[in-house]
């Protein structure tokens, strides 16, 4: 058995599109009316991946650390924008700034620790490690912060009377929102904790699968997977705790009053 990956010929990829054709036939026959979305999604998937493939080849060949930094900056920007768009809540300017700050600070701290202390990559900007690992850490933290935003905003809306009652009893804003902040943090990190539980049994994680497909020994892939999972937990926890302990304050003004929702 060779350890080299089998390259795919163009016709082989073409053959895989049979699955899309199958889906289109089902949708058409049953009159579900999703043909357009399926076509657009398949085309987008194809074009985006081809594009990112070429971009990665270009970055990997470059020896300029600025390319790696630029790639990380673009990823962070997309992730932050995604959080803004995903949230159903109306976000104030102050809250948006805190989302961006927590996202960047939380993920970069974890990425640097992971790459420089745990893996010790060389050279420090090695894009082959930097980009995929940053991608996983940023992606998971993005989901975490999205959930945190939802938790805080919903909590502040639904428990407004309770928070105000606590203020009337002389509570500081931090004390009055402690339960909301804790429950937002909890619901934001829960999916990450749960994903550790099923890992390796319910499914093989994407990175491990990828490494195995490309010829890495499953034992090495396992070590990487364990390490990255821990890195993800750390980054989600760090970015979400930063977000919640800074974010709740945006619902109060300088006079420690609850800000009215219509303002």
């Amino acid at each position: 058995m060779s350890n080299d990956i089998m390259n795919l010929q163009l016709w082989q990829i073409g053959a895989a599109y049979v699955f899309i054709a199958l889906l289109l036939v089902i949708v058409r026959k049953r009159g579900i009316g999703r043909e357009r979305e399926i076509l657009i999604a398949s085309i987008r998937m194809t074009l985006q991946l081809v594009l990112v493939g070429y971009v990665l080849v270009y970055i990997f060949e470059s020896t300029n650390p600025l390319m790696t930094i630029l790639a990380i900056a673009v990823m962070e920007a997309f992730a932050i924008d995604n959080i803004f768009k995903r949230t159903q809540e109306k976000l104030t300017g102050r809250l948006k700034k805190i989302i961006a700050f927590s996202m960047v600070t939380g993920t970069l701290t974890s990425i640097f620790y992971f790459l420089f202390v745990v893996i010790r990559i060389y050279p420090w900007f090695n894009p082959q490690y930097f980009i995929p690992i940053a991608g996983m850490i940023i992606g998971n933290s993005m989901t975490g912060i999205s959930l945190g935003v939802k938790g805080i905003a919903e909590g502040m809306r639904n428990k407004r009377a309770l928070v105000e009652s606590s203020l009337m009893l002389g509570a500081t804003p931090a004390r009055a929102s402690r339960e909301i902040v804790n429950s937002a943090f909890d619901s934001a990190i829960l999916p990450t904790i749960n994903s550790m539980v099923g890992m390796g049994i319910v499914s093989l994680p994407g990175m491990m699968t990828g490494q195995i497909l490309s010829g890495t020994s499953p034992l090495i892939a396992t070590k990487y997977q364990i390490a990255i999972m821990l890195g993800i937990v750390g980054s989600v926890a760090l970015s979400v705790i930063l977000f919640v302990i800074l974010g709740y304050r945006t619902f109060f003004n300088q006079e420690d009053q609850l800000i009215h929702l219509d303002e």
């Binding site: 009377a161 009652s165 203020l167 009893l169 002389g170 006079e255 009053q257």
Partner: protein
Amino acid sequence: MYRFENVRFRDIINIDKLTISEHLVTSIVGPSGSGKTTFIRLLNKLISPDEGEIIYMGKPLMEWDSVELRRRVVMLPQQPAIYSGTVKDNLLKGLLYSEREPVSDDVLLKVLESVKLNKDLEDNAELLSGGEKQRLALGRVLLMEPDVLLLDEPSSALDDKTELMIIEEVVEYTRRNNKTLVMVTHSNRIAEDFSDRIIKISPDEPVQVREVSR
């Protein structure tokens, strides 16, 4: 104790000059929607006026630390929140939030007696009736021994007996301990019976202040 100077809040409150005196029971009356609740929310800085100044103990409210002020000027809202937990947890909440030492069970039991709440300290507070919750919340506020007590008229969901009992208890507490009470009521009768001074507010007319001879 309080002095209002050209105070405006949106189009609800419009008061040129007004004082509220220490050690007295002051009732705030006015038709519904006249801003009575808004008025007392200004006093503990849950909200701040758009214009003008409110002075408390010689210092403008804007210079008071809001949290510090709310530990001295405590408000019992129309529908006070009951926190999950026991009757005891709820009674101690005010002391906890205002960062003071908790008191012994004996003191708690005395407070329960004074608000005529015949419950055990370990009972689940969330299972109390509306009137019982109101009395529990009153007990919680009394434990804080505030300098000024702000009372929004107990919710109309309560029966008259409970409402009257709450007011009687608060007024008695205020007079016995030489405190200051500002209460909102829709009932002229209650205002006449219990207060030293009645302030009638309305967004369109100047405030009217009337002394009640006791």
